[in-house]
Symmetry: C2
């Protein structure tokens, strides 16, 4: 299941275009967090995607609620790959398909037209996605960014370069272990970057389930050792 | 040089979005044929692409003028690959880059929001491009289609699947020979499909310049033989 999540969209036309794109590229559901745009005014822009707006779109009033029941969450940003900012390490649109292939419920999260997603919102997602564009002006309009991402997911297989999958349960396990281990080892509350970097590296670097199993196994061993050595002292 | 050509665009917002996308993905120029939309009203939608609209955009009043000085022209349509319609045989967005790589001046042509390009307009282009989407509703909004195509061209190399190039002069030569040969052999004026099919097959099937040279050589031989056998009779 593929869910598109849009946080506080501002433009009626964008909301309509997004619903149309969801239908064009067979998305399963659209979840809108605190819309500023009007769904009613968006309808003309949805064209024949109007039924998607009426039947497959939900409005929710919290970010966490929008992410509920998802095994893998991918935030998006036009700001990415900044030196020393682990939160901004990104995957590219042509890599998404590999990450969501064996995931039961995947969600891709898009931010506000004006300011995108907050760091806190990006932090809650498993991965960050960035669309490479002109360094002088890489900021795409919201619905155009969504169009590119959905096009990539819909057409990926046809390119004949489908990569190996990673199961959603491993993504969850890796996050849980990394977070727990981080809490056990963190030098201070200011060192959250350590956790973010490790999570990004692991979820982004694994190419198949066998590799994922091995990583989880290692993390579990690490965790058990840490907890027991703590008890011994 | 990459030129985007938009024929009779109707929506101000689309025109603005298109200029923004041209800047996002480093297009060289935008040529608008007989705009119905207002460039002035489009400006707010161009955001920081407004300078592209002001400095790198031209309005022309004929389709042929928009295609002037181009070595390779690619028309676009949401209607493609219909049985027995050679004009509708299409290439996909991820294949464009290979076709334009060694072409000096390439143009990609997009039609009206309401009815797209006419058959006559498609006929004048070397290739037809189609974005695969949901068969139940494959019709993308104009500016979103442009966004996907420009994204593909801009990012193609990064995927690491760059294919072999074909030089623009061969594209022109192939068209000239095929057209001339067609004129020499056509059974009737109703058989134009023959020419279209041959042109599409040759321009679309060639993968490198060596192959192109061989095809042109064959066509030239064919032409000379046809002309001389006509004189002998």
């Amino acid at each position: 299941m593929l869910r598109v999540i849009v946080v506080e969209p501002e433009g009626d036309y964008n909301l309509g275009f997004i619903a149309r794109l969801c239908k064009n590229f067979k998305v399963d559901e659209l979840v809108i967090v605190n819309p500023i745009a009007s769904i009613e005014n968006a309808k003309p822009f949805a064209a024949k995607g109007i039924d998607f707006l009426e039947n497959k779109t939900r409005v929710v009033f919290s970010y966490n609620e929008a992410l509920k029941d998802l095994d893998l969450t991918i935030a998006t940003s036009s700001i990415a790959d900044i030196e020393k900012d682990m939160l901004r390490r990104s995957i590219k649109p042509w890599e998404i398909h590999d990450f969501i292939l064996n995931v039961k419920n995947a969600g891709i999260i898009f931010g506000r037209e004006s300011v995108g997603l907050t760091r806190e919102e990006i932090m809650k997602a498993d991965l960050l996605l960035h669309i490479p564009a002109n360094p002088e002006y890489p900021v795409l309009n919201l619905s155009h960014a969504i169009g590119i991402v959905l096009y990539e997911i819909y057409n990926h297989g046809k390119r004949g370069t489908s990569g190996p999958p990673i199961n959603g349960k491993y993504v969850k396990l890796i996050d849980r272990y990394v977070r727990t281990i981080y809490e056990l080892v963190k030098p201070s509350d200011e060192s959250i970057e350590m956790y973010v970097a490790m999570r990004r590296t692991l979820v982004g670097g694994i190419r198949d389930n066998e590799q994922a199993r091995a990583v989880v196994h290692f993390l579990r061993k690490l965790y058990v050792t840490l907890v027991y050595s703590g008890e011994d002292k």
